[in-house]
Symmetry: C2
Subunit: 244 residues, 2 copies
Amino acid sequence: MSTPGTLYLLPNTLGKTSGNATHPEEVLEIIRSLDMLIVENIQNATRFLQWVGNTIPEFKIEFYPINKKTSDIDLLEYIKPVKKGRDAGVLSEVGLPTIADPGARLVQLAHKYHIPVRPLVGPSSIFLALMSSGFNGQQFQFHGYLPLDDKACSKKIQELEGQSKQHDISQIFMETPYRNTAIIKRILSQCNDFTRLCIACDISLETEEIISKPIGEWKKMQKHTDNDLIKWNKRPVIYLLYAH
Amino acid sequence: MSTPGTLYLLPNTLGKTSGNATHPEEVLEIIRSLDMLIVENIQNATRFLQWVGNTIPEFKIEFYPINKKTSDIDLLEYIKPVKKGRDAGVLSEVGLPTIADPGARLVQLAHKYHIPVRPLVGPSSIFLALMSSGFNGQQFQFHGYLPLDDKACSKKIQELEGQSKQHDISQIFMETPYRNTAIIKRILSQCNDFTRLCIACDISLETEEIISKPIGEWKKMQKHTDNDLIKWNKRPVIYLLYAH
């Protein structure tokens, strides 16, 4: 039996950035050394490799597609060469693979076939938002996207607020960027004035903005003008609620 | 009113390491520029600064202590110079500040006084473990430490397994390193054979070991020898359970 290769979990950036405030030098070195990459979108992946710089020439890199619909049979094909000794990397479109992104099933298969899985340090908007919120970092829950349906969404927000209060949990969730204004209005109209809301926007980018305060204070601002809410629209936001 | 400084949230390493697979160059540059640091332990903080290298001479850096007992009055004193324009950094003993570590109240005060809070990218054992587990990264919950009391601990594990199964959540928790063997035995004896357990140990260090498989398979290994469990003892571990 040959020694297996390693499946590296590669962090992407959180958006367009000229500098490098997100990737340690040793992580860049590993990315530069890989000639097998499992990626969501090949064009975006090559753009990322250009940002990394000094990689293996693109034409020598084999790219394999991954998304939430990729079959286990295809994933198994990706695993085979790694099992035989080749190193591979999995890269998502934004931030860390497998977290709010595809890749978890691939990692599960790697474990099944005793392939070492090595996570590399990089930016997670969820974690950077949690750090910056000032909310409880000893207990927290990430919920992904809230339900699309109005009623279900309102019910979910109510649940999150209640559970946060009862169990002292920081609640973290996301929303499709073009619906930011709508979800913020919903949260403000629905939650208790003393519940805290943190909006963490464009994290790690030059336009980063992180605001954390009680709903009551968010509301005062909204009274003056809705423009203050519109500015969040179409920008990537992580939301946090805390009601303890 | 003067322009306030920035409160930087500084990542520490996850243990002794000679290389740098954890800190982006721009993050190191920011750490090097700071002359006001709020830290858990001054001796360990200066050791970290030596690892960073090329910092401001130590005798020119002002250190302020922070722990979970630090009073809000003291924290407010730390905030005052930042409010007046000085930059400061908060550093925990291991990994990211505020996450399973002190600092959240300080960040909350910074927001209250309209001081920009800027989170810097670095290693989080919790996130690196979650990525590597192959479990659900779309929904997860972090619970900190499990209860010390035997009965309460068993009940908590049962709850985590049940909620994971019911709501498709990855459950993440920690244990004091010298109790690792005991908690693993408890999990194996208590959980369903099909429930998955991931043990992520010494993350980002040379001795990193990440194993993720069903309880049934963990048990088979344990039958051969208890040594396989003893090896985890006194090493930092992140635990994940997933029962979907």
